[in-house]
């Protein structure tokens, strides 16, 4: 859609857009170029100009067992977390959308976890799911060490995934509820006239009509799982990548490598891999989600 009636001026639009564009150039495009530059060069250990090393940084990254380990747990994280969060959001949205008395109260509450910062939520869950106190300690009463994220890597990964789900279920809920409310009421009523109950209507009409929203959420959530700022914060405030690298997600590893290990080139190469991954996701979203999933 293009506006017909517009103002004519050459310098005014530039003046209006300049502040934000300047910030973006300085804090976005320049750093992204620097990532490209660093990924293909290596700074000599005793100072001096960076030297072009081609794909050496990538080779080094890809030859590292720990890197592939981190890729694998990132994939587990970015599949389990988003799928569960979307599933919970969907079930809750279907329930709230029936508009039974009192459902407004629940709708109001479900959004609140999304306002909590990942690290702050992480702090709360460190208590709630601690092996010695809080709620999870009851599991260990049954049998010692049934749950211990400080000791077992798989428990720690599950622990971080739980925080992710808790925070993002409310977010998916908002979008799915908005999607459900745009489903034509007449469709639902026609189905009810034909004798279908609420559960059948949900499965056969509402969920298929939500397909675009579901795909949108899947892409957004997976991006968040791979590179989200809260994902970094959750790990950093709770497990710090441990125990024994079990929760060292890709985004955590990049920052850790750069600022703890001071390996800018390696971190930049890893950033570039992650950037490629996001590009693929964005491409999928535009190519398949926006075009194909259309049920009108």
């Amino acid at each position: 859609m293009e506006k017909r009636s517009v103002f004519k001026s050459t310098w005014l639009p530039i003046l209006f857009a300049a502040p934000q564009l300047l910030l973006i150039l300085l804090f976005f495009y320049w750093p992204v170029t620097a990532v490209l530059n660093w990924a293909f060069t290596l700074e000599p250990p005793f100072g001096g100009a960076a030297e072009f090393v081609g794909l050496d940084n990538f080779k080094e990254v890809f030859n590292d067992q720990l890197y592939w380990h981190s890729v694998m747990i990132s994939i587990i994280f970015a599949i389990c977390g988003p799928l569960t969060a979307i599933f919970i959001g969907l079930v809750l949205a279907l329930a709230v959308d029936r508009e039974l008395p009192g459902s407004g109260f629940f709708r109001f509450l479900y959004i609140l976890p999304f306002a909590v910062a990942g690290p702050a939520g992480g702090m709360a869950f460190r208590f709630i799911l601690s092996p010695e106190r809080g709620l999870a300690a009851m599991l260990n009463e049954i049998q010692p060490d049934l749950w211990n994220p400080a000791k077992y890597g798989s428990h720690a990964l599950a622990f971080v995934i739980i925080i992710f789900i808790w925070k993002w279920a409310g977010y998916t809920f908002i979008f799915l509820l908005a999607g459900l409310q745009s489903v034509p009421r007449s469709l639902i009523e026609a189905a009810a006239m034909d004798g279908s109950g609420p559960i059948r209507r949900a499965i056969d009409i509402q969920v298929p009509l939500l397909a675009p929203t579901l795909f949108f959420l899947l892409v957004t959530m997976m991006t968040e799982g791979f590179v989200g700022s809260d994902t970094f914060g959750m790990v950093h405030a709770t497990t710090r990548g441990g125990p024994n690298h079990a929760t060292e997600l890709m985004v955590y590893r990049i920052v850790d490598e750069a600022f703890q290990g001071l390996n800018y080139s390696g971190a930049s190469a890893q950033s570039l891999v992650l950037i490629g991954l996001i590009m693929i996701f964005t491409f999928i979203q535009f190519r398949f989600v926006e075009r194909r999933v259309h049920y009108k």
Partner: protein
């Protein structure tokens, strides 16, 4: 809907209550734990009944983390991000929508691409830019004129450094753009006919009309700003600029072998997570609207 569905209704309520326990339960545990004594909070099984120690615990947490100072820093940072975002993105959207200029597509795509790469994957070079703001300019000048300049401007440990890189994203611009596109062409036409120039039109018509948009953007930006974790962690080394999110780890019980006082930690975490939760609770309508329309 006129259909008697007692079974489905019972199921709906059961789902909503389970959702409540999953999503709001952690808040209840934190509130209960934050108001108990050290013995009560460490008891297994955990008791959900709040105690009367909240004020004492909160005071202890407040002094342990020096929260007063950090709260002020967080508030300043949040307000600067919010205000900067609301103002700058309105200007950019105005330049993109209301001018017939060959540059507008360039502006649009320049801003649009920033949506794809979050701060986390380009954090290392962004940090480098903030540590030495003039690098790009210096290199440009050196490239074109051969003169090597020796000016430096360091943004570390300053409010500008905390906020400017976080304002350099696209979120708000698209929110305004979508809204501006829905305004009828006749509006700008009428303004022009009455002799108003673009600047007057922007301030006297567009901004007042955007009131709901501004409110929506303000709420999501407040939550976004307050919950920033990684960037302040890197930027700030001087304790007088620390934000509340950075204080979280300081609130952890001291590891001296004694009984950990998780009640104090929980009280502090509660105080830290509270402001954005309150904003979302009070302004939920606008928050949801901002969220849904800025992401799609």
């Amino acid at each position: 809907m006129i259909q008697r569905t007692p079974f489905a209704n019972a199921l709906t309520y059961a789902i909503m209550v389970i959702g409540f326990l999953l999503l709001i339960g952690p808040f209840l545990v934190v509130i209960a734990g934050a108001s108990q004594t050290m013995q009560q909070v460490n008891a297994v099984p955990f008791r959900f009944v709040p105690g009367d120690q909240f004020l004492a615990n909160a005071t202890a947490a407040w002094t342990r983390g020096d929260l007063g100072h950090a709260m002020i820093n967080s508030l300043i940072m949040t307000l600067m991000i919010t205000f900067g975002k609301v103002a700058l993105s309105a200007c950019t959207a105005f330049a993109i929508v209301f001018f017939r200029s060959p540059l507008k597509h360039l502006f649009f795509w320049t801003v649009f691409i920033t949506l794809m790469l979050p701060l986390e994957v380009r954090v290392v070079p962004t940090y480098a830019v903030a540590a030495d703001m003039f690098t790009p300019f210096r290199l440009l000048i050196q490239f074109f004129t051969g003169i090597e300049l020796k000016i430096e401007w360091n943004l570390l440990n300053s409010y500008a450094g905390l906020t400017l890189p976080l304002i350099a994203t696209a979120t708000g611009t698209f929110l305004y753009r979508q809204f501006f596109m829905t305004l009828p062409d006749e509006l700008a036409e009428a303004a022009r006919m009455d002799g108003s120039g673009p600047v007057r039109f922007f301030f006297d018509m567009l901004l007042p009309l955007s009131r709901t948009n501004i409110l929506a953007l303000t709420t999501i930006m407040f939550v976004y700003g307050w919950n920033q974790y990684l960037w302040p962690l890197l930027m700030v080394t001087d304790p007088s600029y620390q934000t509340v999110m950075m204080k979280l780890r300081m609130l952890l019980p001291p590891e001296d072998g004694g009984t950990p006082d998780w009640n104090v930690t929980l009280a502090g975490s509660l105080l830290i997570m509270l402001p954005p939760v309150l904003v979302v609770a009070v302004l939920q309508r606008w928050f949801v609207r901002g969220l849904v329309s800025s992401e799609k």
